[in-house]
Subunit: 142 residues, 2 copies
DNA sequence: CTTTGTGCAAATTCTTTGCACCAAA
DNA sequence: TTTGGTGCAAAGAATTTGCACAAAG
């Protein structure tokens, strides 16, 4: 029987990240809390269990995760940066009222059904692509 | 013959915004610079022509535009907030190399062609919806 | 040892706020 | 007048940096 933390450790190593205690804790938190937490939330929730934890480490660690493709940074909310440990293809819905971020299937029909059934009232759609433009690809082989 | 500024003025009024000199200037800037400028850029570019302009006014004005649906706030770049005066349905591409934001047609085939022709190397896709969730819709009729 | 990670405090940056002055109706 | 817009300076919040100490190999 392999523990959850051991799986997280393996996951980090697979992404080229040395699995320190803090890193495992933060990734474990991300994976067990698919709520798109912010740095603040992660820090506040882990702090009691890891009293020495600093916010700097949370910042450092999340940045590392994103750089290694082990987590996603969501900029859907202009006020707060959120993080997602779920790398599977899915869209996000940001409630302008309560600030909650919900997962939505990428599949169009599911999305429409969610909208039609009044689960969400969608007022804005943002489709963002990120990557490298031709100029930048030519400069260095990214 | 109607001047460009007069058209901008009409546009603001249509969106329920009182057309002050600063507001007209900033909206005119947005419409003549489809480059998704930041507060900083707008301020720096307009400052020489409007020496009394303050950054606070740029912030206030853009916030007003977004609230009245006269402009879009882009959070594609986690470092800087960008603004778009083009309200037509289109996707955005953010170059992780140079930070440039490009417009992309929403139409899937065009997008794929752009990608295939090596105009862009897309590494991330973010589909963001914003609006109100059921709970928030029930609270107040937004 | 030597390298890497952690965490405190300070610095920096971005954005908002409070308030006084100015302009338009 | 009265209301709303502007802009300065200060405050506030989010994030980064510099550096010293701790941990791991």
């Amino acid at each position: 029987m392999v523990s959850r933390k051991e799986n997280v450790e393996k996951y980090l190593v697979e992404h080229g990240i040395k699995p320190s205690f803090q890193r495992i804790s933060i990734m474990d938190y991300l994976r067990t809390h698919p709520t798109h937490p912010s740095v603040e939330t992660i820090y506040n929730d882990l702090s009691p269990r890891i009293p020495t934890l600093s916010k700097t480490t949370v910042y450092n660690t999340l940045k590392l995760f994103v750089e290694h493709g082990a987590a996603l940074m969501l900029t859907i909310d202009e006020k707060t940066t959120h993080f997602d440990g779920d790398l599977s293809s899915h869209a996000h819905f940001f409630c302008l009222g309560c600030g909650q971020i919900y997962d939505i299937e990428m599949d169009a029909s599911v999305r429409e059904r969610a909208s039609e059934s009044d689960l969400f009232t969608i007022t804005e759609t943002h489709l963002y692509y990120k990557g490298y433009c031709r100029k930048c690809c030519e400069k260095s082989d990214k």
